[in-house]
Point group: C2
Amino acid sequence: MAKKKNAFYAQSGGVTAVINASACGVIETARKHSDVIGKVYAGRNGIIGALTEDLIDTSKESDEAIAALRSTPSGAFGSCRFKLKSLEANKREYERLIEVFKAHNIGYFFYNGGGDSADTCYKVSQLSEKMGYPVQAIHVPKTVDNDLPITDCCPGFGSVAKYIAVSTLEASYDVRSMAKTSTKIFVVEVMGRHAGWIAAAGGLVADQGIPVVILFPEIEFDQKKFLAKVDENVKKHGYCTVVVSEGCHYPDGKFLAEQGTRDAFGHAQLGGAAPVVANMIKDALGHKFHWAVADYLQRAARHIASKTDVKQAYELGKAAVELAVKGRNSVMPTIVRLSDEPYKYKIGHAELKDVANVEKFMPRDFISKDGYGITDKCRKYLTGLIQGEDYPKYANGLPVYVTLKNVAVAKKLPEFKL
Amino acid sequence: MAKKKNAFYAQSGGVTAVINASACGVIETARKHSDVIGKVYAGRNGIIGALTEDLIDTSKESDEAIAALRSTPSGAFGSCRFKLKSLEANKREYERLIEVFKAHNIGYFFYNGGGDSADTCYKVSQLSEKMGYPVQAIHVPKTVDNDLPITDCCPGFGSVAKYIAVSTLEASYDVRSMAKTSTKIFVVEVMGRHAGWIAAAGGLVADQGIPVVILFPEIEFDQKKFLAKVDENVKKHGYCTVVVSEGCHYPDGKFLAEQGTRDAFGHAQLGGAAPVVANMIKDALGHKFHWAVADYLQRAARHIASKTDVKQAYELGKAAVELAVKGRNSVMPTIVRLSDEPYKYKIGHAELKDVANVEKFMPRDFISKDGYGITDKCRKYLTGLIQGEDYPKYANGLPVYVTLKNVAVAKKLPEFKL
């Protein structure tokens, strides 16, 4: 009993359609290991909840409520964009984390996020050793950007990919219907600041005969070549669909549409590449256009989540707890692909030192030679990740998503100024 | 046998997630009445197909392919934006229609569209009488704008309403998760040039505690009042969702974002109200924002179609043929609401003279007093229309939508210049 420790779980960065499925996996599995894991405390609004000692007692939630997390999009405990950088620059924050963990007898740190969070998780593990209060830090991967290394994919991505592929297919059918006398160009803007994984998903519709041009962040934008490609498609098919990544940029690094604002991580806030591209086509080729910006709709779209993605998100949450129970530290459970068709995988794990601050880009051989489409290799990769549907329950025409009680744990420490 | 006539069916204007379900209803029902209805010819690209004698022989399509129309979005035969105005100004076109109908022994004209098409349909009926080749003209209602009179609703609308309600709910959960340190404002732009029906659907999420502000085209935009409302929501809830109709405008009639282009009907091409509103909030209140423009994604979203809408679309196509078989002319089948909770309806019909060129706006008592939300009356109206899900089949992660063969009928007449 002396060794029984509580666990801390936090959601970090942009939320997804399935990050709560990972939370569900963590909490349900922790409840099964009540011999070694006491309560699971969640950080209210992510790591900020740990720093400010604003912990949520998940033991106050019923089994039904926790189970409902599996089909609820967004971050049930709140997330945040708050980066803990180097130990030197943020020593005070790292030490505070350990203090809070110590005060609440927390021995397990489950951090559910992307690359920045993997780095924080790694540092917490290192520092806790140094401070003589060892915490097992396990990173649970999550990012719609799919840019974490080692793992076959990141939970959240498969569902966005499915949403973008389905939406691109549907909108392409629409523009095809209208092209004779009206709209000939449909442009949809998708997320993906540095990696074109999400944009690539739009390329899956090419198999169904849809003329689609993809603008990847990995490929420098060449206006003349792009317009020639669109023109060729309109001449051949009567219409053209364009999927533009928000991260698409000119050779000098300037994004097609920067909004001029930056987030807490110092990243430029993007948006508006679609109208830029649409107007460019109108000016050069004269075609009537429509454009859409999917933004949060894509990453929140639990209603059309990939069954494979939901399953993987849950399994990685579960695996994180199982790794902790086995005494592992400073690791991240991963998806290991075994085969493409049919898609088969197993759960593995990676050392956080190999994960932190490594960004996985689209391999060049996933992008077609001309830079505007995906290769067969990419199609095989993506197809596995969008397999199956996992519909939420509906009541009165709308999905039934859970909102937790999120009861606060009594504070034990002095206030901490962020 | 002498009285057996062929039928002509055409899709008009912007397509929807369920217009093909109406086509399915028309064709399947016509096939059951082969004693009086010969072949169903579809206009390739709408009414243009009739004018240019570019007819599609739907009898070349298998029963399976026609059945698959029920779950395929967009216009399977192509649609067009091509308005036939007054008989005086467009006499040549109207006469050509009758000539083509005569040449192909067409005695039934099923026109699947919105207000403009109802008007054309009405005029064809009138002129065919005068020209001594009577054609039974039946209008099948369709418009995501939901602005046709008499009928309780228009097929296509219920599915857009469901898509917008679901998407607004999901994105609101997302922004709620992020609001502590990041995005506090989410703006989604929806269709609806003159009527705020689609925007109203976003208001359904208010029942779930989401702070949502709706900008209707029916309510003149008041920047100061709007910003105060958003500010109030952010102070109370920490975040705010805004649903802005593309038709939202200032008291002088200027849209929040005109793109400066006009379509074939002379309507201004809209788009971009969302970034305008988002930046307005950022400038005045300083909140970080995200914005989405749903555009075609909303009206093509067959993957989340309302079961009620799909059913009604099919039933109205079926009813159109049954009205024709009963000898009716110049009519439109309608939805007659019988009760709200549970939503019950029956199929009725209206005279085209009462439908043509009448636009149905949101009743003022569907919009809350402050102009930014929906009333209980509106909620009851909308809730009926989004009941049930009608998922398409999926293969390999993507919906299975049908593309017809669309075999052309041999031409019999001289060419006609549009």
